[in-house]
Every structure is written in structure tokens, then in C-alpha cells.
Amino acid sequence: MRIRAWYAGAIALAAGMVAATAAVGQDAASTAQEIEKYRQALQDGNPAELWEARGEGLWKKPAGPKNASLEKCDLGLGPGVVKGAYAQLPRYFADVDRVMDLETRLAHCRVTLHGLTPAQATARPFGSPDNRSDNDALVAWVTSESKGATMNVPSAHAKEKEAFALGEKIFYFRGGPYDFSCATCHAADNTRIRLQDLPNLTKQAGAQLAYTTWPAYRVSQGELRTFQWRLNDCFRQQRFPELGFASDASIALTAFLARNANGAEFKAPTIKR
């Protein structure tokens, strides 16, 4: 049994659930406390730094048909300004006359500066061990340059207001075989899946806690996961159609959730279970 549990993912998962039950059977408060200690112990030495380093290299290294770097990419605070840029995204960009989130803007820059086709620039939004994603690395680096910045997503432009309103609508939109919405799991206090607390994204504290802690190195996957990935996986868990990478819906939902986090300190990339 022991050996098989190690071998087979499904069986290991079952064993894990049994272990979880046993743990919960103890004093729940002390369990939560011990899990908190576990999380604390991981903070010092976050493998997300490996992605940040690779992303910085990708940003600075000339690449693509135009053999140019991304150093002139304007993330909203001027060409080449990375520091603090993520804390003010998504935002309206006059040069394309639309609202863009970080991923969309990076793809835009990889098209305009590197000379990639839009399809090439968005070909691999999320990485896996044998197929790494440049997007993951670039997002890790850009977001790390906003660590400590205060979330300040702008809403002055009409298109920014429009994106926020659309994102809000998507958040409450029920559909799919389970008749789920984002709000089904994220609009009440003190809910959780197994040991994972679910943030109430309709309240400021919950919205801030959630948005400011992505991207994260997920120890369960051994991968850096972006906020985009988080949204996509929520859609999968809702049994929704796939959320198109860099789509208007994705940008709008991000705009809604990012702006709800305004006023909070950005803390990512973090490390999570």
C-alpha cells in the first residue's frame, strides 16, 4: 500500500484525504496554527525567484525576428518602466485604444518589439515541467518588481469603467453544467475546499488578499502559477468553457478583481501549498 500510494497519483490523493481527515479530527485551531507554521517555513527561499530570474533575462535579451529586447515595452508607466507597473494594471492604453492586462500587454510587446505573430506571442500561456512558458517567467519578473507597491488600478477612462463592469458581470454570471458562478465559491465568508480557505472576493479584505498574492509558486505542482492561470483553473473547476488567454473576458475579469484590491500592498510572487 505504501509503495503504491507513492506510485499512483490517484491513490496518493486518497491517502492524503484520509490523512487530512485525521488531522482535522484534532483540535482544528491547532491544526490551522501548524499549517500556518508550515506556510511560514516556506517563505524563506521561494523557488518563484528562479522564474523571476529567467523572466528578467527574457526581458533584457534581444529575441525574435526583430532581434530586439522588451526593454522598451510600455507597461503603462512609460517605455521600459517595470517598477510598480503591475500594481496599476489592467489599464487603458491609448496606443491600442483598449484596456490591457499584463499578459495582453506583454504579448503586444512581443509582437511589436520581438516581431512575433500574435499567435506566437500567446502560444504558451502556462508552463509545465517539460514545456516551460516564457509568459510565466516574464510575469514572475514584472510582478516581482511591484512587490511592496500599493495596488492602484486606474478607473478614470471610460473603457476602464466598461471593463470593470463587464468583469463584475462575469463574476456573477451563472452557467455551465453545475450552474456555477465565480460568486458561488467566492461571495461568502469562511468557506473552504478541504483545508483551503476561499477568499470572499466581494469584500475588500478578501479581494485584496487574493489578488495581491498571485503569482505564486505552487508547491503541489512545482510550478509558478500566474493570476491568469488561477482564473483559468477556476473556470475549469466551474466547468465553464475555457477562458481565452488574453481575451476581453479575461481582461475584464482581471480588471474587476484587480481594482477591488486597490489600496492593498502587492506581495507576490508568493509561495502556496
Binding site: A5, L13, G16, A19, A23, T31, A41, S220
Partner: protein, 157 residues
């Protein structure tokens, strides 16, 4: 492990002879100097007593060995922080063993003079288990253990 050995042999060029000998289990730790030794017998041990044998002796319990920054409960077995510190004089080696892993030995550290007898790393755990800190000090082996509960196995999800 055999396939690992073949891989190492195939790799050729960049690998020193010592590494090859060590990988093949022909060298005991210490024989190859600081780099290249790999205690194959210990790493293949399936139980704590077998691992003790591979290291060459049954250890005595020692309260001078402490776990630091090691949680009682790990949220995910894929990454479990383990820190070991020894206040035993002349600590020269610290090994971390996980009783219920398929191969119990996770890591062994040689501590030269001038280096503090404290190391921190992260291990995988397939399930809740006792974790052993085996310490060699002044030529003798000592041990301390701690139970770590795992809420999600290191290979599940």
C-alpha cells in the same frame, strides 16, 4: 537506480571517474573526498534499521539534536521544510531520513570544521511519517526523530 547508473555512464565527458565510481556504489563516503561521493547503499535502504546499517552503526538517542523550522503538519507532502541542528561536539555529518518513504534516506550533509551543525532543506513525503535526524559526532552516531503529518501526499496533486 540501474537506469540512473546507465545515464551517468552515458553522460561520459563531464563526469569525473570518482562520480562514476560513487554512483555505482563502489566508494563509501569519505573515500572520494568532498565531491563525488554518493552512498548508494544508504540511499537504497528501505527501512530505518537498514539505513543505520549502511551508515555503519546503530545510533544513540540524543536530545542535543533538534528540529528547527520543521512543521508538525505539512500542507503538502511535495515540499516539507526540514531543519536540523546539533549541539553535539564535533558534529561532522547530519542525515535526514523519512521512515515511510520508499527509500528512507533523503539527504546527508558533511559538516566541515568552521561550518555550523545546522542545515535546512525541503523533502518530499509520500504520507505522514516519522522523520529522523541522524548525526555523526566525534565518530559516533546519534539520532532524534519527529512526526510530521502530511495532509496531501507528495506525489498526488
Amino acid at each position: 537506480m540501474d537506469s540512473g547508473r546507465r545515464d551517468a555512464l552515458k553522460a561520459g565527458g563531464s563526469v569525473s571517474l570518482l562520480t562514476l565510481l560513487a554512483a555505482a556504489g563502489w566508494l563509501k563516503p569519505g573515500e572520494a573526498g568532498a565531491q563525488g561521493a554518493w552512498n548508494k547503499a544508504a540511499f537504497e535502504a528501505k527501512s530505518i534499521p537498514d539505513a543505520y546499517k549502511a551508515f555503519g552503526g546503530a545510533p544513540a538517542q540524543a536530545k542535543e539534536i533538534a528540529f528547527v523550522a520543521t512543521p508538525d503538519i505539512a500542507e503538502n507532502g511535495a515540499v516539507v521544510p526540514i531543519g536540523v541542528t546539533s549541539s553535539l561536539p564535533k558534529t561532522e555529518q547530519i542525515a535526514i531520513l523519512v521512515e515511510k518513504n520508499p527509500n528512507v534516506l533523503a539527504a546527508s550533509f558533511d559538516i566541515p570544521a568552521g561550518t555550523e551543525a545546522t542545515v535546512t532543506t525541503r523533502v518530499k513525503m509520500g504520507q505522514s511519517s516519522n522523520v529522523y535526524a541522524l548525526v555523526k559526532a566525534d565518530g559516533k552516531y546519534y539520532v532524534a526523530q519527529k512526526e510530521v503529518k502530511v495532509t496531501l501526499g507528495g506525489c498526488g496533486g
